[in-house]
């Protein structure tokens, strides 16, 4: 466990070294909040609620999802892909470290760094400058529980995407496609509440909504009960497990295929 912790710490430190990076990422994300504010302000116009959500709710929802998006951006799939293309992954197999665990702990370090640089300042602006408000109660606690699950889910999906490099080198295309699909289908660009009924039903059977929609709606929707919270977390956890299993199967399958073909 300590070895993995060391990796986490190392990634965190590397992130801190780049000061210009720090400042500009901050500005970039604040700028995004600004556009969200104005965009949704003009969408609401004079209406009080749209699709059952107030402007304030939507604004918090969108800020949370977009902050989560940057928070979970760890370039993990690129690291996996590099390891595969350079062949480092095959030498990894001979070491007493689990590749997936190693990559995930490294990525987790980056999210901590992201949290410091992105999420906390974004929240400060949200509540400080824009005077947004959320209902405070059990939802905050469940939000804090749901966030790591969402993170894990997102990282595992990235890991699976990275593994496609066993078969093709065109990670850029695959990764962009994944990113945009996940964003749209999980409420990253428009709250899922704005989608037509039919689509919302379909989306509830997919893992994507557990990444952005679940934490964001736990935080903003005051009408949810404790039972709702637990079932939402349950769904998240279930998806994490399912995808973890899939990624492991995929990994061993891919390694087998590659070693047979002589890589």
């Amino acid at each position: 466990m300590r070895r993995y912790l060391a990796l986490t710490k190392c990634a965190f430190l590397t992130g801190m070294v780049w000061r210009a990076h720090f400042i500009f990422t901050l500005i970039s994300n604040l700028a995004y909040i600004v556009i969200l504010y104005f965009l949704w302000k003009s969408i609401y116009g004079v209406s009080q609620t749209l699709n059952g959500m107030t402007f304030n709710q939507v604004f918090v929802y969108m800020t949370v999802t977009s902050s989560i998006f940057v928070l979970f951006k760890t370039w993990l799939e690129w690291q996996v892909s590099r390891d595969i293309i350079s062949g480092a992954i095959t030498t990894q197999l001979t070491k007493p470290l689990d590749h997936q665990l190693m990559v995930l702990s490294h990525a987790f370090g980056r999210t901590l760094n992201n949290a410091l640089v992105i999420t906390l300042p974004a929240l400060a602006v949200l509540f400080g400058i824009f005077r947004a408000s959320i209902p405070v109660g059990w939802n905050v606690l469940f939000f804090c529980l749901s966030l790591p699950l969402a993170c894990l889910l997102s990282l595992v999906i990235d890991y699976i995407i990275g593994l496609t490099s066993f078969y093709t080198e065109s990670l850029w295309g695959i990764s962009t496609t994944k990113e945009i699909i996940v964003l749209v289908l999980s409420g990253g660009l428009v709250p899922l509440g704005f989608f037509p009924e039919v689509m919302r039903n379909i989306l509830s059977y997919l893992p994507f909504q557990a990444i952005y929609h679940t934490p964001a709606s736990i935080l903003t929707d005051a009408s949810l009960s404790l039972a709702d919270y637990t079932s939402m977390l349950g769904v998240q956890a279930a998806w994490v497990i399912v995808l973890l299993v899939i990624s492991r199967l995929f990994f061993s399958q891919a390694v087998k295929a590659v070693t047979i073909n002589g890589g």
Partner: protein
């Protein structure tokens, strides 16, 4: 008429001092703690057309920085340069037309293209006419036998093959001056010999001026009649190679790490130990240039390397050893001590 004139040239870099650890990283965010590195410090020389000059010195001496200034990449902090009648930094493009450059192991050919396509593109870029192109390509073929490599992509070449292609490519447009920055670094002996041969021939056929940096004395011995030695930004020696020749090769340097390390006291301890074995009058020096590491420089013919190593290991608490590739440092030390004056 000199083709290159350098006068009181200096280049200083400002470098941020980084701190260690978590707090240090946080501090660096707002740090204004800079340190000045004098990469090149007040150097002057002149080079005549057709010369092959060896520009030598240990790592970090300032060789590449000087070349970058002569090729117009870096603006000098102070001083004057004239290359071929141009001020390189001001007339980069014009200067480039009469110049060829090789920088270390970085190829300037197109990574994904077959070698021959790179040559064709260069022909286009430098506006080389067909006749000159055919003539040059014919000559390269005779000298280096590259034809077999033409259909391969640059990516797929070995380091040595790539360097051969890179060097010939830098001569394609028949430049007046070619700068070669460490063209033999990381290559094995046989390919080194081929490259030296190629450079020599290319210099002879068109009387091209060549500035060659290296820290391999072998390159210099094979190619240059004149050398300029630089260390820590200063020129230590500029002149005939023969006068320094006897010093080359004779000296070796052993780097040892002694624990516990107590500064002067440890250095003295090492010196005493060696004096015990070899006596006071032997020609060797013991110094420390870096915390914890001690350099022992001695004449190989008087004190065989392995013997010194074994003896030191048996008498001193040595944690780690390195054998320094060449005795350049020893030579430079001797120059500091006035051996050449």
């Amino acid at each position: 008429m000199a083709i290159i004139g350098v006068k009181n040239l200096s280049k200083h870099f400002k470098v941020l001092n980084r701190h260690e650890g978590l707090l240090g990283a946080a501090r660096d965010l707002f740090s204004t703690d800079y340190r000045l590195v004098k990469a090149v410090d007040d150097i002057s020389f002149q080079i005549e057309p057709g010369e092959i000059v060896g520009y030598i010195g240990p790592n970090g001496a300032g060789k590449s920085t000087t070349i970058k200034m002569m090729t117009g990449i870096l603006k000098p902090t102070e001083g004057k340069i004239e290359v071929n009648g141009n001020v390189p930094f001001k007339n980069r493009q014009k200067n480039a037309q009469n110049m060829g450059v090789i920088f270390g192991q970085r190829t300037q050919l197109w990574w994904d293209l077959p070698v021959i396509e790179s040559f064709k593109l260069l022909k286009e870029i430098y506006r080389v006419d067909q006749e000159t192109y055919d003539h040059q390509m014919g000559m390269f073929n005779e000298l280096a036998d590259l034809k077999a490599l033409y259909p391969q992509t640059v990516r797929s070449l070995s380091l040595g093959q790539r360097m051969l292609c890179d060097i010939t490519a830098s001569f394609l447009h028949n430049p007046k001056i070619v700068f070669l920055d460490e063209p033999t670094i990381g290559l094995d002996i046989s390919i080194k010999a081929r490259i030296r041969e190629l450079i020599k021939e290319l210099n002879r056929t068109h009387n091209t001026t060549i500035i060659l940096t290296t820290h391999d004395i072998g390159d210099v011995e094979a190619l240059c009649s004149r050398i300029i030695i630089i260390d820590q930004g200063h020129i230590l020696y500029d002149g005939d190679i023969k006068r320094v020749n006897q010093l080359f090769g004779a000296y070796r340097t052993l780097r040892v790490q002694v624990r516990p390390y107590k500064g002067e006291q440890t250095i003295d301890q090492v010196r005493q130990t060696l004096v015990e074995r070899y006596g006071e009058d032997r020609d060797f020096t013991v110094r420390s240039r870096e915390m914890g590491w001690i350099n022992i420089t001695f004449r190989q013919d008087e004190m065989p390397l392995l013997e010194v190593l074994n003896y030191a290991m048996s008498r001193l608490p040595i944690r780690d050893v390195q054998i320094v590739e060449l005795a350049l440092e020893g030579v430079i030390r001797r120059i500091y001590e006035g051996a050449l004056q």
